[in-house]
């Protein structure tokens, strides 16, 4: 007769705890290696709503994923008094918009910290790097309504990097006197949007330069 040993629940629980301890040791070992982390990919979605809002139906788009590096982050400091957050050193996506087989512009979604959480803004950029428009993909404040969006959009549409920069103070932390005069409604949200616009324009040329050259649509 076979000698069958039935494991006691206490033994199984002990074995489980041993496995759990081993897992934690392995996890903390892995934590010492500083690879950039990434969100669960099931949550990655194309900004279709933004593309539909900012471009007409005749436009096609293609995805260009690139690595935004620590060096890119440092390079942005040469153009702006601020830079992207360290957690943004990771893979990011630029969408190239085509009409009649010809590149017409770009779309990039960026996140900015607000005091109530992340605000995600999709930016439409013309080939000459002026702004075509923007779309709040995610903003948990009721302030991000159509009236405020229209008022900010009215000021920044068609503006270039240097024109946008003139709306900010020297340290980039507040609106300039000119900026305050053109953003009478929701100035704090306007400041957040403006900083996002400048980072987007800067990082597009810094991080996607090679990709855009390969697609023969470099600036």
């Amino acid at each position: 007769m076979a000698n069958i040993q039935v494991k006691k629940p206490a033994d199984l629980a002990t074995a489980g705890l041993a496995k759990l301890a081993a897992f934690f040791v392995l996890t903390f070992f892995m934590l010492t290696i500083t690879f950039p982390s990434q969100a669960a990919f099931c949550s990655l979605r194309d900004p279709i709503s933004a593309i539909q809002a900012l471009y007409s139906q005749e436009y096609q788009f293609r995805t260009v994923v690139t690595d935004v590096t620590e060096a890119d982050r440092e390079q942005m400091k040469q153009q702006l008094p601020f830079t992207i957050h360290q957690s943004e050193v990771a893979k990011h996506t630029l969408y190239v918009l085509y009409k009649d087989q010809k590149a017409e512009g770009f779309l990039q979604a960026r996140s900015e910290w607000a005091k109530w959480g992340l605000v995600e803004i999709a930016w439409a950029i013309n080939l000459d790097r002026t702004l075509k428009g923007f779309y709040f993909q995610r903003c948990r404040s009721p302030q991000c309504n159509d009236t405020v969006t229209r008022s900010i959009s009215h000021v920044i549409q068609g503006k270039s990097f240097s024109q946008l920069k003139s709306l900010l103070s020297g340290d980039g932390e507040t609106l300039s006197a000119y900026g305050q005069s053109v953003f009478p409604i929701a100035p704090r949200l306007a400041l957040l949007t403006l900083r996002s616009a400048l980072k987007t324009l800067a990082i597009t040329d810094i991080s996607w330069r090679k990709d855009l050259q390969n697609l023969a649509i470099a600036h």
């Binding site: 489980g16 496995k19 897992f23 279709i48 436009y59 590149a103 910290w113 607000a114 959480g117 404040s141």
Partner: protein
């Protein structure tokens, strides 16, 4: 002395663990997977404790996530998602039917599909593979691998093999799916099938609403269970607060059912901390006798910027019935995404 022979699952686990060390992590995406690819390794350990019986169960998960967009000239063709996960149970008392017992290890599939997006700029896509069944709140929130879950337990299945049409229109999002009804395994035994779908308002807005349906036979360990369900869901975001609600009516194995679910969540300004409270209610009418049960859940999740997260949750009944028992469950999970 017992000699340990590694099974295929152990070899796969070892392979997955070693990927970052074998290959240069920075270059893996472009070298091995080509352009427009992202990858990640996901590891977690979970403790579930029944606080009445003092029974502890452990779940260890190691998985690979690959996300790749295929493009041609001036347009995207489609998106591939590939998520094989090795799940090892230890001392578990109630397990999904595709595990042999509570101390088994199996290869499972999370989201593994190809979504063909070249037809109409995202307005009409065709998805083929293993994906989340489009229904209710699950559709717009990513709850894969987290303790926080919504109502898939009522339907007995979260993701399934099959095909769907899906898309985003200016004022509408939709997904309509025909799936095998067998969950993790692609099997035709007992001929299960599910026809499901959700049509809702744009998910990026602060107020959303949707209508869902779920019809079919879901494979279980002892055959299939027939489900018929119609549901509505809504969510509202106000600064750091999130309010969610889902309700449905239908039939399960021929018995009339009603289910309701509500959640209030608070998210920290840096979005590293989330806490939530859920309430669930179910009612079933069997042979002219009505049984109802309800429960509450409190939970929290904290994650750092380097992919490490810890979460805890406690579920307890408010009231139960002989046919609808709810075990008190304390869960703690540590997870790391590399």
């Amino acid at each position: 002395m017992q000699i340990f022979f590694p099974g295929p699952q152990h070899i796969l686990a070892l392979f997955l663990s070693c990927i970052p060390f074998i290959l240069n992590a920075e270059n893996l995406g472009s070298d091995l997977l080509g352009d427009n690819a992202r990858w990640s390794v996901d590891a977690s350990a979970r403790l579930n404790r029944n606080t009445d019986t003092q029974h502890n169960a452990f779940t260890y998960v190691l998985g690979l996530d690959v996300h790749k967009v295929f493009s041609h000239k001036n347009r995207d063709i489609g998106t591939l998602m590939f998520q094989p996960y090795l799940v090892s149970l230890n001392n578990a008392s109630s397990v999904p039917f595709f595990f042999d017992d509570g101390d088994d290890t199996q290869l499972t599939w999370r989201i593994t599909n190809f979504n063909f997006t070249a037809l109409a700029q995202g307005r009409l896509n065709i998805k083929l593979g293993h994906f989340e069944i489009p229904y209710g709140l699950e559709y717009q929130e990513d709850t894969n691998g987290t303790l926080r879950q919504f109502t898939f337990g009522d339907r007995g299945i979260k993701a399934d093999w099959g095909m769907s049409v899906n898309g985003i229109l200016p004022y509408l999002e939709y997904e309509i799916a025909l799936t095998r009804g067998s969950g993790n395994e692609l099997t035709s035994s007992h001929n299960p099938h599910i026809f499901s779908g959700r049509i809702g308002s744009p998910s990026q807005k602060n107020i959303t609403a949707g209508f869902s349906w779920f019809y079919g036979d879901v494979l279980t360990g002892s055959g299939t269970t027939e489900h018929k369900k119609l549901g509505v869901d809504a969510s509202y975001f106000y600064y750091q607060w999130q309010f969610m609600f889902e309700s449905s009516i239908g039939q399960k194995a021929g018995n009339d059912t009603q289910n309701s679910f509500a959640e209030i969540a608070w998210i920290g300004a840096k979005e590293q901390f989330k806490s939530y409270m859920q309430l669930g209610y179910q009612n079933i009418k069997q042979m002219n006798k009505k049984d109802s049960a309800s429960y509450w859940v409190v939970g929290m999740q904290w994650q750092n910027a380097y992919g490490f997260d810890i979460s805890a949750q406690f579920k307890h009944k408010l009231n139960a019935a002989p046919t609808l028992n709810i075990e008190p469950d304390l869960s703690i999970q540590m997870r790391y995404r590399l």
